[in-house]
């Protein structure tokens, strides 16, 4: 049963004399699932690519004690910031997986010639991307945070803040990925464009963990993180769709 929301007026305009007007074959939910499932499948088959960013995450986290100090008091203080920075950098590194290959093998163009809302389909793609690249970060972070002597309550908040924040990072990153999809060697440019947009998420996430560490109440920043996520989910797809159309030109 086709759902009309999101797609422009299909059989609604009675003024049209066209007889073969059809509603698109798939409803929005089914469409999301079809695109999501394929991207998930492809991403899992290319799991070595996805694991690169996860390994990078571990690498960055390892570098700080080596460069600064392995003392517990020091590590505990820098842990929220370090883990969040590492998560942001790992996300930046994984963004090229979103659209570049699809642009090159022609599958992105196929989405553009469908009667379905592009933003919605891109949201499905970004969700699949987050499952593959973001969830490993959320899972590994508490484990790595233990090596930074972060106490249990802060661990929980750190994980939760990453759970709320990494999807937003993926979404914001998808704008940069969409803008630079057709450009050669645009890795650093992508990071540069997107990092300022990600700053609020970084600040809120690290701060929430800091508050928990100090024994204070972290719910304020956590609420704001959720608000940013909701904002990103509603606004980013439209922007990314526009950007994709430019890149596919």
């Amino acid at each position: 049963m086709p759902v009309n929301s999101g797609t422009e007026a299909t059989a609604g305009t009675a003024a049209e004399a066209e007889t073969d007007s059809e509603a698109p074959a798939l409803g929005l939910l089914a469409l999301f699932w079809v695109v999501f499932e394929r991207d998930l499948r492809v991403g899992l088959r290319r799991w070595t690519d996805a694991s690169n960013s996860a390994l990078f995450f571990v690498l960055v986290v390892t570098l700080f004690p080596l460069a600064l100090s392995p003392r517990a008091e020091v590590l505990r203080t820098i842990a929220p910031g370090v883990l969040w920075i590492a998560a942001l950098l790992a996300t930046l590194l994984s963004l090229h997986l979103l659209f570049r290959a699809d642009l090159e093998d022609g599958t992105l163009e196929q989405l553009l010639t469908l009667p379905y809302p592009l933003g919605w389909m891109l949201l499905a793609k970004t969700s699949a991307h987050w499952i593959i690249t973001g969830i490993p970060l959320v899972v590994m972070a508490p484990i790595l945070a233990i090596t930074y002597h972060l106490p249990a309550n802060a661990l929980g908040v750190l994980t939760f803040s990453l759970l709320l924040g990494t999807p937003t990072l993926s979404l914001l990153g998808s704008i940069g990925a969409a803008l630079t999809a057709g450009l050669r060697g645009a890795g650093v440019l992508l990071a540069f464009i997107v990092a300022p947009l990600m700053l609020p998420v970084l600040i809120l996430g690290a701060r929430a963990t800091d508050l928990a560490l100090a024994g204070a109440d972290p719910t304020g920043p956590l609420y704001l993180l959720s608000a940013l996520l909701v904002l990103a989910v509603s606004l980013v797809p439209v922007v990314a769709a526009g950007a994709i159309r430019v890149s596919a030109d």
Binding site: T7, E8, A9, T10, A11, T13, E16, E18, D20, S21, E22, A23, P24, A25, L26, L31, V34, R38, R41, V42, R45, R46, E104, D105, G106, T107, E109, Q110, L112, T113, L114, P115, Y116, A248, D249
Partner: protein
């Protein structure tokens, strides 16, 4: 009925075409010819709505093509140089994706059979030969159940049997009242359908 009016497009400092117009009724084919770099692919992409021209419009049955597309009054399929298939998935998985998008029951097996790909249907696309990949791309076109076919150099890498399959598919589509636009620099047999030829790249 497909129509293009006053299409102008520049690529950098080269004028690819200017004030280009054409009309194509249903059941007819448009053949875009010209040397390499003349803009055949670009024109095809303009018709598909992927590339924006400087000026001019593409209409389907009198209304803007992109509007008709979004409103579900037109189904088109674009087959370009790139295959439009994920190389990490098998042909069957790729086709199943397109079948679901078109909301069609899985006619995948019969299409695979007709395209001569049943044997390698479950191999990853990256393992197929160039000719098999082309057939897979063509299978996708057939699966789409589209009214308008936009094909860019569809005969590349096809052997004689493959080319015959392609020509039969095109003729069948035209016979059912579909419309085909092909960019090619090799001759194609369109059967008894009306063919308009558009030559690009002339001074």
């Amino acid at each position: 009925m497909l129509a293009g009016a006053g299409l102008t497009l520049w690529r950098g400092t080269t004028r690819l075409f200017e004030a280009l117009s054409f009309v194509l009724p249903s059941g007819a084919a448009l053949l875009i010819e010209g040397p390499n770099g003349a803009g055949k692919t670009t024109l095809l992409r303009v018709i598909a709505g992927l590339t924006m021209p400087e000026s001019g419009s593409i209409t389907w049955r009198g209304s803007a093509l992109t509007k008709q597309l979004q409103a579900g009054r037109l189904r088109l399929v674009f087959s370009g140089h790139a295959l439009g298939l994920k190389s990490e998935l098998s042909t069957r998985e790729n086709l199943r994706f397109f079948a679901r998008l078109a909301g069609l029951p899985a006619r995948v097996s019969e299409i695979l059979e007709a395209a001569g790909l049943s044997g390698c249907a479950d191999l990853d696309v990256r393992l197929l030969s160039a000719g098999q990949k082309r057939r897979a791309a063509l299978a996708r076109v057939l699966l789409s159940d589209a009214d308008l076919w936009l094909l860019d150099e569809p005969q590349t890498h096809l052997d004689t049997a493959g080319r015959q399959y392609l020509e039969e598919a095109i003729q069948g589509h035209l016979g059912r009242g579909g419309t085909v636009v092909v960019a090619a620099h090799q001759p194609l047999n369109f059967g008894s359908a009306a063919v308009t030829r558009l030559m690009l790249g002339d001074a």
